[in-house]
Structure formats: C-alpha cells, structure tokens
Amino acid sequence: MTDAILTAESLTYRAGSSVLIADASLELAGGRMTIVIGPNGAGKSTLLKLLTGELRASDGGVILLGGNLAAFQPWRLACIRAVMPQSGAVSLPFTVREVAGLGVDGVGRSLSRGEKSALIGRALETADVSHLASRLIGTLSGGERQRVHFARVLGQLAAGRTVAERQILFLDEPTANLDLRHQLDLLDAAARLAGEGVAVVAVIHDLNLAAAYADDLIVLNNGKIAARGAPAKVMTDALMSEVFRLDVKVGAPPPGNIPFIVPSRRAAAPQI
C-alpha cells in the first residue's frame, strides 16, 4: 500500500518469558480510521505503545513515513503523531487551558503567541471544554479530564500540521469515561480528522461504537492479529465466539422485549 503513513513489520514484543505481541504486521493509511478491538489482555495497549515509539519491539520494526521510527527525534515525532493516553492524571495544579496548551507549546515553537492561543481555543471548543478553561485539572471529573486530553492532542496535531503534512493520531480507550453524547462527539471529531487525511488509530472496547466508526477493524487475540478488515466483514458470529468467547448473533436484537440502544455514526457531524 503506497499511501501507508506507518508500517509495522512482524512486530514481536516479549516481557520476560511471555510474548505480549507476536508477529503483528499492519499498515496505517492516511484518511482512514482504524479501530483495535479485543478482549482484556489481548495486547491492545502494548501494540499501541509499540506503534507510538513508547516501547521498542523485541523483533520487527516500525517504519514511519519511510524512516525507522526509533531513529526519529522526539520533537520531530511529536509533530507527526499525537497520543491520547488512557489515564489522565496530572501531578501539578495546571488549569485546563494550560494542559491543552502543552500540545501546542511543545510542537508549535515557531508559531506566534496569537496563533498558538487560537489553536488552543479551537481545540478546547472541539472537545467541548471551553467552559472549563480556567478550572484546575484536578477538580474535573474523569470524563471531563479525558476531553481535556483530547483537546490537548487536537492542539498538538493542529500545531504539528504547520510542519508535517501527513499525521497520525493514537487514541487509547478515548471513550472509557464519557457519556454517550460525548463518546459520539469525540469519535465524530476523530472521524473528521481522518476525513482531513490523518491516520486515526483507536482502541475501543464498545463493539457497537467500533463497528460504527471503523474504516478498518483490527481484532487482537493473545497478542496476535486474529482478523483485519471492514467491520461488516470481520464481525462475524464465529469471531465473536472464538475471540471474545461470546455466544451472540451479530446484528440480531436481543430475545424478549429488552430495549436496546445502538449508537451509530452521525450522518452529518456538527461543524465547529
């Protein structure tokens, strides 16, 4: 695939005697949203860490824009890829605006103060945390904090775009603490970024959300890629049973009269 921003070749990662990721190969292309699913302990976070450069693979390598990922300067890397972490603890009493600004500060050194400020403001708005801008990060709820970190990576990508044209965004369980509306808001924003050419990779536990937003699904099981492709092709009764040990019928309503709500990707995401 010529359009790949990032290519991983037979990644293997061992910790002690256990193999956490075994022989995983994949390409991430600009403009596509790739969602990684899998049961607990399948190696989703480890895979993400290998792809972001946080961990070095025991075997195999990661190629980013034609270069070896391990050889990139951290600053250069930060212009190309942003990472939204799972836990959002901040050890010092920063305000929301300052946390969001960290992404812009590090990458956008050549920007004027006004330009930086505008980027931060836009990111805060997209993540729906403008009204919290002067609050201390430690006083926020888990979901609010998660949205602040989303604003931070949005700012980092926007600042990085002045240097790097092709970018990649990693989201590690970005919707874990969010209410349904904010889950959809966040994934809509991520999908818009994909629409602008960014390669988006997200780990998501909610299979319905994953199915609704993924251009590509990667199913991890025991550190191996069990399946990969469009959701309609990958999500089968057999896979559910094999990977998740679930006896379900994909696409069938639950028996009896139980109400059920399946969120779906909004046709026209509200523009900001």
Binding site: K49, T52, G53, E54, Q73, P74, W75, R76, L77, A78, C79, R81, A82, V83, P85, S87, G88, A89, V90, S91, L92, P93, F94, T95, R97, E98, V99, L102, G103, D105, G106, V107, S112, R113, G114, E115, K116, S117, A118, G121, L136, G138, T139, Q156
Partner: protein
C-alpha cells in the same frame, strides 16, 4: 487570515502568560529588593540607615561599621539569596521530575547524600589530603556535597529505572533507603571524628548562614548562577512531565536526557546549599507551592519566580535568625521549620486533593 488570527489571539491572550509573567517577576523583584535592603540595614549592631548609605558609597572605609556592613551583612545577604533560590529551584525541579508535589531534596535523599559527602570532607579530608583541604576548603565542601548529591541521585535513578523508564514510586522508596543509608554513614563518621571535627560537624548540621563571607558568596555565585540560568530551558519539559514520562515523550520531550540534566542541576543546587549553609528545610517546598497557589503551575513562570521567592524567604528568615535573640543567633533551620512545617501540614490537608 493570519492577521485576523493574530489579532484574535492578542485579545485572547490579555488575561494570560506574558503580562502575568512580567507582573509576578516585578512584584517578586520588589520583594527581593526590600528584603535585601532590610537584611543590610538590620542586625545585632545598630547602624543608622544614613550611615549605611554612606558606607556603601565608600565612606568610613576602616570603621567597624563599614566592616559589619561590607564584610558581614552584604556577603551574607547575597549568600542567602543564592542558597534560598537554589533550594526553591531544586524543590520545583524535583517536584516536577518525581511527579510528587511533596518531593523535596530532603525526601529523595539528595540532601543526605550531599551531607554525607560534606561530612566526609570535614572528617576524612584533613587525614587524607590535608594540604588540599586547607588550600581549597571553600571549594572542596560544595564540590564534595555536589558529588555526594549526584551519586545519591544517580544511585536512586539506577535502582528505580527499568528498561529506560523510571518508576516514581520506586524512586521515592529508594530515596528513603538511600537517605537513611547516607544518614547512617554520616553517623559513623561522627563516631570516628575527633572533638574538633565533631564540633564543626554539629555546628554545620544545624544549618546557618552565620559563616558567610565573600569567598563563600563567590563560590556560591559561581556554582549556583549557572543553575539559575540553565533551569528555565527545562520549563517546557517539566510542564510535559506533569502528565507522565510517556506523555512527555509523545509531546516531543527528550525525556531521558532532560531527566539527567534536571537531576544534575538539582544535585548541584542542593549540594552547594548544603555545603555552605547546612541542611535548611522547607524552602524547597514552601516557595514553589506559594508560587503555584498564586500564579499557577506553568514552569516558565514557576522556575524564575521560585528562585526570587526562595531567595527572599531565606533572607527574611535569616534577618529573624540574627535579630530576635541578638546578639545571639537562632539557628535558621529552626525558623524555617517553625514557619515551613505548619505550612506543609496545611498544604497536605487542603490542597492535596486538587493535585491528585
């Protein structure tokens, strides 16, 4: 479009960084100026302010008053600013580095390591290298203490780092271990020292600016000023580290290199402070926290502001130390502890939940 964005930005910026920075530094400079003037004007000896002004202009060159002002109060004030600033700065560095708002040179064992090396220089120095010690003693103690602090911190770092990542919890626990080991060795040195060395050691462990003179102030200035100048370059890295080391790396920080620089700077600042004034507690916690409480946590402001505030706090404590029981002197460690410890406890009870 660019023009619009910039104008828009300027409007948005009005409440924030640049103006806050200038206002804070201006206020703290005035505070430093006032404490500095007070420190030169006040003391056990009553010297009229008008006479001090004349002395500073070079009058009464041979009088005892001139000696007191020029050779005792001036170097002491300068040393107070330098060491207070160094302690506050190292506190701010360590709190960000260890992601723990209660981190302090004392907590992570740097002070203990520095104290051990300085004690070794006092006790073993004249046995092993007597000529060297007497010729370079003003430099020997700070450099020994710096090396001791550096060794302690590097040891911690090695103990708590796996696969290039440092675990903060392990580091704090290892700090307790390294600290008590260094403390025991210092105790061992005390038992093999003779009476004169023991007296030197005991006086020095009390903590005081009492021995200030121009040569000490010069040594302090030569070793600490580079730390003051270098530290602000780390501000962005320190900000990013508040999110965690992995996140700082994702934001473009060269985490391992910057951590090493921070450790070296903190060890140098603490080592020089410990060597020249003994272990003085709480400035490293109080100053950075007061700054964060009032102007926020951005290190681009916290680092320089902590230096200014730490300097004036220590000079202020020293003015009290040499006037409240004049002509006797109260150990400054007692005063910083009396003010600092309740502050620390108050901080613990009210602010901690916001830092979580």
């Amino acid at each position: 479009m660019t023009f619009f964005a910039r104008r828009d930005g300027r409007r948005e910026d009005r409440d924030s960084s640049r103006e806050k920075f200038i206002a804070t530094i201006a206020i703290l400079s005035v505070a430093c100026l006032l404490t500095g003037l007070a420190s030169i004007a006040l003391g056990a000896a009553a010297i009229a302010p008008a006479r001090i002004v004349l002395i500073l202009q070079g009058e009464f060159a041979q009088s005892a008053d001139a000696m007191i002002v020029l050779n005792i109060r001036l170097p002491r004030t300068l040393l107070g600013f330098l060491i207070g600033g160094a302690l506050a700065l190292s506190g701010a560095l360590l709190q960000a580095l260890f992601r723990n708002p209660l981190a302090d040179p004392g907590v992570v064992g740097i002070s203990a390591g520095a104290a051990l090396a300085a004690a070794a220089a006092i006790v073993l120095g004249d046995r092993i290298a007597a000529p060297l010690m007497s010729a370079y003693s003003v430099w020997a103690l700070p450099i020994a203490a710096f090396l001791g602090g550096l060794v302690a911190t590097t040891l911690l770092y090695v103990l708590s780092t796996r696969l290039g990542r440092t675990s903060i919890a392990t580091m704090l626990l290892a700090g307790i271990g390294v600290g008590s080991f260094a403390g025991s060795l210092t105790g061992l040195l005390a038992t093999i020292s003779d009476d004169r060395q023991l007296r030197d050691l005991t006086f020095w462990l009390l903590g005081s600016l009492g021995g200030a003179n121009w040569s000490k102030a010069t040594v302090a200035a030569a070793l600490i000023t580079p730390v003051f100048l270098a530290a602000p370059f780390l501000a962005r890295s320190l900000n990013a580290l508040a999110l965690g080391e992995a996140e700082a790396f994702h934001l473009g920080v060269r985490v391992e290199r910057d951590k090493r620089i921070m450790i070296a700077l903190a060890a140098l600042a603490v080592g020089v402070g410990v060597a020249l004034a003994g272990p003085i507690g709480f400035i490293g916690i109080v100053a950075p926290h007061l700054i964060r409480l009032t102007v926020g946590a951005d290190h681009r402001l916290v680092l320089p502001a902590s230096i200014f505030l730490g300097g004036s706090l220590l000079v202020l404590a020293d003015i009290l130390a040499r006037t409240i029981a004049a002509p006797a002197e109260t150990p400054i460690g007692i005063l910083t502890g009396l003010i600092g410890a309740p502050f620390f406890l108050w901080l613990l009870s009210t602010r901690m939940r916001h830092f979580e």
